[in-house]
């Protein structure tokens, strides 16, 4: 019977009900989108790291993921020296030039990069030939509406797209390594070095030898690199998500509070009727709590649906910059956040309703 009353009450004020559901839905969308972006972008990075095909990465010691922009601490002569290590089949260095987040230009030795990755597949065009040639991946090309022959301005220079490759290999924008070394002022230096080992059973031994030889360098296996591309491994992202969750709770709380507070004022007389019939304070509170719980659940479903919408928007507008993952694991968490906000927002209005004087409420017009 309470459920019947709750549903009828919600139907009785469709605009307020819809606005409340929309507000809660937006806060749920906010959570699911931010979490989905965090996971999606990290997974995209992990996918591209795997796509390199390297068994070992050599980076400056202490370098964090997504940093190291423009710095090139290794002498490029180290690359052929590393190739001479036992069981190292291939070594190649790249020079990084960071662009606006999350993009960067990777300066590569195309011939070696092609071998390392097991073959770069061109969707369109060819490798660099002219000094202003640039290669991009198909997702970046889609985002920037580029074709072979298109002009693109990066680093204060105009480049001509000579080739578009399939995505999933290290970066989305590639130039010859010498070009990047030149405009970063790091001629003869590289930012990181990738190694291919002759047999995966030898990876640990090669790593140990390298650690012994270059104790100041960060030497990581592919799996170690990939494991770093997780939300749990990156403290600022965890904090960021917590902040967003907090904001979502506050949004849910404020909207539900206003909605339920208005509802209690509007229904003063009805609350008086229920009290005259013998409804206890707990009965009155249960009605309002169930009402806000229903709003929160409907808002959660709407938020989940909206998160598919935001994913599509990112996919269509900026497929290379933002990758949102749909996060079913987070649906119950987002719903719990919405319910928590709604519960907090209903506490005071329902307490006020429960404490209302029945005689005064019945006299209310």
């Amino acid at each position: 019977m309470i459920n019947q009353l709750v549903i009828e009450n919600l139907k009785h004020r469709p605009v307020r009900t819809c606005l409340s559901v929309l507000a809660i839905g937006i806060s749920v969308t906010l959570v699911l989108t931010i979490v989905g972006l965090s996971h999606g972008m990290l997974e995209d990075n992990a996918r591209r790291a795997r796509g390199i095909g390297a068994d070992l990465w050599i980076r400056p010691g202490g370098m964090q993921l997504g940093t190291g922009g423009g710095s090139a601490p290794f002498n490029e002569k180290l690359v052929p020296a590393l190739e001479k290590f036992e069981h190292v089949a291939l070594a190649t260095g790249t020079a990084i030039y960071p662009l606006q987040f999350p993009q960067s230009i990777q300066g590569i030795d195309f011939e070696k990069f092609d071998r390392l990755t097991g073959g770069v597949r061109f969707v369109e065009g060819r490798v660099f030939r002219a000094p202003d040639d640039i290669v991009v991946d198909s997702e970046y090309a889609a985002e920037r509406k580029l074709k072979v022959g298109s002009k693109i301005k990066l680093v204060e220079r105009e480049w001509t797209v000579c080739g578009i490759i399939e995505p999933g290999k290290l970066s989305r924008i590639f130039l010859p390594i010498q070009v990047v070394q030149e405009f970063t002022g790091n001629t003869g230096k590289v930012s990181q070095i990738f190694l291919k080992v002759d047999d995966e059973r030898n990876i640990a031994a090669v790593k140990a030898k390298l650690k012994e030889t270059f104790p100041e360098y960060g030497i990581l296996t592919l799996e170690e690199i990939v494991s770093l591309y997780s939300v749990d491994a990156i403290a600022p992202i965890k904090i960021f998500i917590r902040v967003i969750v907090g904001i979502a709770v506050v949004i849910g709380f404020v909207f539900v509070f206003l909605s339920m507070y208005t509802a209690v004022l509007e229904r003063t007389r009805e609350i008086g009727i229920l009290k005259a019939l013998g409804a206890s304070p707990a009965y009155i509170m249960a009605i309002l709590m169930r009402e806000s719980a229903l709003l929160a659940l409907a808002g959660s479903l709407l938020g989940i649906a909206f998160s598919y919408g935001t994913r599509e928007i990112f996919r269509i507008l900026i497929p290379a910059s933002m990758q949102q993952k749909i996060m079913p694991d987070w649906w119950p968490i987002a719903a719990a956040i919405a319910l928590g906000g709604a519960f907090l927002g209903t506490l005071y209005p329902s307490y006020r309703a429960a404490k209302q004087d029945a005689i005064e409420a019945l006299a209310y017009d």
């Binding site: 019947q4 009353l5 009785h12 009727i273 229920l274 009290k275 005259a276 019939l277 013998g278 206890s280």
Partner: protein
Amino acid sequence: MTNGHATAATPDLMVEIQGLRKTYRVGEVDVHALRGVDLNVNRGEFVAIVGPSGSGKSTLFHILGGLLAPSAGTVRVGDQDLAAMRDSERTNFRKANVGFVFQKYNLLPTLSAEDNINIARHIAGKNGPPDEFFARALELLGIAQRLHHKPRAMSGGEQQRVAIARAIVNHPALLLADEPTGNLDSENSDAVLDLLRELNHRLGQTILMITHDPEAAAFADRIVYMRDGHIVPGPSSTKAPDR
């Protein structure tokens, strides 16, 4: 009717009030709404309480309905001593011991007539089908065809019949009606008053009705007059004229 304050009551008395006083504090002034009311209502009696505004009849109505605590005196409805009850006990008392009929009907606008009746049963903790008493009452009320309508789709007379049905669905010891015809035209007023009398005569429902209207009061078995917080002798005894 076991509410924790059951007392030995005279078998034929449904309402027993002795020395009832109610004083409100308004700002720094004490307002004496009831100044020592003594009133007995027999089981199965239909009593009208008539008096001008400020006479204390609404306060008496609220105290008898368990909506208000008395300041002093004894108030028994059936075997329940309302004067000794706490708020929560009076809430429990209201669930099944009294039924209210208000001037403005006071139906829940979002629910159908049937659900307005059902919610009274739900609050009283009764979930099964209504008893034989209510089936007969529903027959008398003549609203069977309108039960699925919401209040806004019903006339005032129909709404008041639904309100009466809701008031008696739990078979209360006492039906309290506060100006039940105050918002109705004369035709619907007579119909509602006839219904109250039928409920009283045929089903033995004890009714206490507050009214300004002498014609409405004439439907009762007995008329009690109030003035300035007292029960006073009426202009022509306390026996209602025959109708």
